[in-house]
Amino acid sequence: MDWSPPSLNSPRRREQNFALIGAVLSGAVIAFGLLLLLVARVNPEAGSRIREAALDAVAPIWSVVRAPFDGGAALSNDAGDYLGAVAKLRAVTAERDAGRRAVERARALAAENRQLKALMRVVEPRVRLVATARIAGASSGGTIRSAIISAGRAQGVRPGQPVRVAAGLVGRTLDAGDGATRVLLLTDAASRVPVIVERTGQPALAVGNGGPLLEIRDRVGAEVPLRPGDRLVTSGDGGVYGPGIPVATIVRAAEPPQARPAASPQGLGYVSVETPYLPIPAAPPAAAPATAAAPPK
């Protein structure tokens, strides 16, 4: 008999076995990946510990790498300041005079506001500065628009705190590692900021879409048209962002209106993290009366 049945250990058989095992393993990992996505759908917090650890690993690298660039930028800024000192002084003087007049008006308004609030016994939540930190990373991918800042739980930063610069709102904290935190930028598709239009007082939502502009949705009184240049500030609804922080300026009034963020995320250096305006209580009060308003979300 010149034909023999293939042995179990023949190289060809072995190769086939390996190919089979490989195919099964590939199918298994892809199925596992889809399972992980379902887990993320049910519980978005899943795996946040691992993400936070990854932040702590990556942020120091970029803090070191960007140091020489920061030094160079500071040097060129200094040189520019020196050269443009006279023009800048004139501009600043004019700005100061205009500012003084605005401050006088604002003082009168603030005094009036104080009196009215005292009359109405308004209780004002206090917003406290948690930390000021430098941008130490970002993910500018198509899936998520976020920045990494170099302050974390050690500095008191927790998930769900507002992040801002002087010019306006930047976003809110997402995952807080020990020494680094991921900040969800306003332009991320998952970001929703309750705003009011300063000119008309209409409440609305500023929603990111992954591009450079924000979309304005769910505006109350949509029949009143917006104008390019209208300023949007936070309304304080929802309890994360305190009222009155500049968010964006309308650039296109046609429906859906689009707005440019007040704090351009491109040139961010240092940002400050604040406590939430009305923090969500850790546990709902036990003996809450049934008629109480729904807890802030």
């Binding site: 490989g22 393993l25 590939s26 990992v29 892809i30 596992f32 990946g33 889809l34 399972l35 992980l36 996505l37 379902l38 887990v39 993320a40 759908r41 978005p44 899943a46 795996g47 691992i50 993400r51 650890a53 990854a54 990556v58 690298i61 970029w62 790498v65 960007r66 941008i135 130490a136 990373g137 970002a138 993910s139 500018s140 991918g141 198509g142 899936t143 998520i144 628009r145 976020s146 920045a147 990494i148 997402l174 995952d175 991921r182 930028l185 598709a189 998952a190 879409n209 992954g210 591009g211 450079p212 995320p265 491109q266 961010l268």
Partner: protein, 174 residues
Amino acid sequence: MSTDYRLRSAADRFSWVTSAWRWLVPGTTVLLLVVLTTAPIILPWPVLPALGFVAVFVWTTFQPGLMPPWLAFVLGLAADALTGAPFGVSATLYALTALFVRLFERRFGHHRFGFDWVVLGLLSLAYALVGQQLLVLAGVEAPLTPLLVQAAATALSYPFVVLICGRVQRRLLR
């Protein structure tokens, strides 16, 4: 493996064990490229390419044995942790990429640079479309425009990644 191992001399065994670090080379390259995309550069459009995906593609064409789909999956999990995406998005996409390239090359053979670039361009388009579906599955709102912008950037980054992976292969894997 065990027979091979028993037949070796002590010195051979030692060099066999220490040469295992070669297995880590492609994975480490992918990881470093993913870390590179977390640079503190915030741009108005997401024009930072998905370098990890391109690197998985390139390593699967260069060294299919060193970039099996399960390794691509593990690297994708790390990429998800680093970019803050829901766990499983990059993992599934990387594993699908490695699997696709394997099957494609088994069926149609190995190709030149230009052809592979075209294949990668089409794949990065598919990466955006499938990625959007996976994000929707994970319960994340995902507009398509930024993903397509990133796909274009990803397709353009191919020569850069080939340059890096080629250099690493010449230095470390030969």
